[in-house]
Amino acid sequence: MSQSPETAAPVFSEAQLAEVRRLQALYPDARGALLPVLYMAQETFGWISLEVEEYVATLFGLSPAHVHEVVTFYTLYFRERPGRHVVAVCHNLSCHLAGASGIIAHLKQRLGVDPGETTEDGRVTLLSVECLCACEAAPMMQVDDRYELNLTPAKLDRILEGLA
């Protein structure tokens, strides 16, 4: 990690600003690009701080309050720095019927954190989430970009070992 966003003001590079303008031009109203640009910001700065919200607002001519309202509405924008990996276990009905609570209990025990918390070494954030729509392979979870299906305790342990 080159710079800590806590100490440096969040600013996109020239290439990223060009990408922002490209995205804004895809919509009849540039504001349509707010969600995609917030994803870019999260990838760049690691999470969406109030400073990042203010910066993104300037790129759209929007109030920071509007951007805050949007960021806090959705679950995929992180308002504090997440772990290097995000493990999101589905706890909805089909996964529940397939033993999701046992999966969550196993992860809590292995990681030493509750859902919503990050391990002390900053490795993993554990979440318990609503339906990810892979019910045919319940119980399941999302690890970063990947869906992990048909979970068992042994499979969980293998997956955790692979997370640096």
Binding site: L26, Y27, P28, D29, R31, G32, A33, L34, L35, P36, L38, Y39, F60, H66, E69, V70, F73, Y74, T75, L76, Y77, H91, N92, L93, S94, H96, L97, A98, E130, C131, L132, C133, A134, C135, E136, A137, A138, Q142, D145, R146, Y147
Partner: protein, 409 residues
């Protein structure tokens, strides 16, 4: 009843997502044919096919298209709802990953029918792989010259909110706002995305369109029931031998789906209850499964086809615990705009939880039923009506099981 597969016919091919595989199996022929058709003729064909929306509401697709104002001078938008999120549903994930060009081709035809030059595809944020697959297909379609000649597709990622699957919530989100649904009228076909006439269609619905153009409305209509044509993809999960996605004519019965397709019931092997159309559909008991799985068949059975997400429960499943899990979902996903929904979903979750934890009060069940029945129909969108489906049906059909958990005073 196995029948011909249409939407899933290429799923077994490992390269089914590529342009090459799609073209090899007859892809983009319907688009070639549609280009020689008048827009009104395409709308008429889809109307006569009895294609119903497969995202949840079941509205006749051709009729929806015909609501775009005639002689409208400004832009018209086509928006594809790929924000799949209804618990128990996973069909659109399969289509985006395994046959993304079917969606592109269907969109080309739909756009011609409604005279749209720009479409937005709203993919749920968690669907990273489906989003990549579909984006690649769009790129291939540009390179092949299908896109970019008067019709463009913008792929847009959601950011985690079930309510954005509601079409006006989706539009708010696409406009860069929180996904609050909008009051109707005006309906999106009159004033939708960015203030312009807009048609919002589900992925699976649009994937049917090339086949209707290729093989004709009469063929498609004949596959289904009197009021709904074609096949659809049933997502079957829960306590069954073979959970998965099964394409079948919409006249298949729930019994056939569970026992012939999904291999029967696991757990103790005896069926207790089934959710037939995603978690917002009223639950059916074991003796209510001889119903056809079309929109009107399930409506007549007092539930709904919804997104066709079938969740099966055997006798060992606790209905109160299941309702608590479902109630937690609606409490979490209520967008907070309308008071009856925001307040009731939270309180009903708390009440179901205390019942499950053995702290229920004897008036709780009647309070939940009262709040559910009074709130239905009082909110801007159908979200709360969807929550009410399980609240009422789980309690009314399995009341004894709830009562057994409530301590006697």
């Amino acid at each position: 009843m196995t029948g011909e597969t249409i939407l899933t016919r290429n799923f077994e091919r490992s390269d089914s997502h590529t342009l090459r595989a799609y073209v090899e199996t007859g892809g983009y022929r319907a688009w070639a044919k549609a280009q020689a058709m008048e827009p009104a003729a395409i709308v008429d064909e889809v109307k006569r096919a009895n294609l119903r929306g497969l995202g949840g509401a079941g509205f006749p697709t051709g009729t929806k298209w015909s609501f775009i104002p005639k002689n409208h001078a400004g832009p018209v938008y086509l928006v594809i709802n790929a924000d799949e999120g209804e618990p128990g549903t996973f069909k659109d994930r399969y289509l985006l990953e395994r046959d993304p060009h079917a969606l592109v081709e269907g969109m080309l035809i739909a756009a011609r029918a409604i005279r749209s030059a720009t479409a937005f595809v709203y993919v749920r944020g968690e669907y990273v792989e489906p989003w990549r697959r579909f984006s690649t297909a769009v790129r291939e379609a540009y390179e092949a010259g299908h896109l970019g000649k008067g019709f463009d597709i913008v792929v847009h990622r959601g950011a985690g909110a079930y309510i954005c699957g509601e079409e006006t919530g989706l539009i708010s989100s696409l406009e860069g706002k929180k996904g609050w649904p909008k009051l109707k009228p005006p309906f999106p076909a009159i004033k939708g995305a960015f203030g312009a006439p807009t048609i919002v269609n589900n992925v699976e619905t649009i994937c049917h369109v090339p086949h209707i153009v290729n093989r004709g409305a009469a063929w498609f209509a004949a596959l289904g029931t009197k009021t709904q044509g074609g096949t659809r993809m049933y997502s079957v999960s829960g306590r069954v031998v073979r959970p998965g996605v099964y394409e079948a004519p919409v006249g298949i019965t729930l019994r056939q789906l569970i026992y012939e397709r999904a291999g029967g019931v696991t757990g103790n092997g005896r069926l207790k209850a089934v959710v037939p159309g995603g978690s917002s559909a009223a639950i059916l008991t074991a003796d209510e499964i001889d119903v056809t799985m079309d929109v009107d068949g399930l409506k007549n059975a007092g539930t709904m086809a919804g997104s066709a997400g079938v969740i099966v429960m055997d006798e060992t499943v606790s209905i109160p615990e299941s309702l608590m899990v479902v109630a937690r979902f609606y409490a979490h996903e209520s967008c907070g705009q309308c008071t009856p929904c925001r307040e009731s979903t939270g309180w009903i979750y708390k009440m179901t939880r205390r019942i499950v934890e053995g702290r229920g009060r004897k008036e709780d069940l009647d309070t939940i039923l009262d709040v559910a029945k009074r709130g239905a129909g009082t909110t801007i969108c159908a979200f709360y009506d969807g929550a009410v489906g399980p609240y009422i049906s789980y309690i009314e059909k399995f009341r004894g099981e709830f009562e057994a958990l409530i301590p006697r005073a």
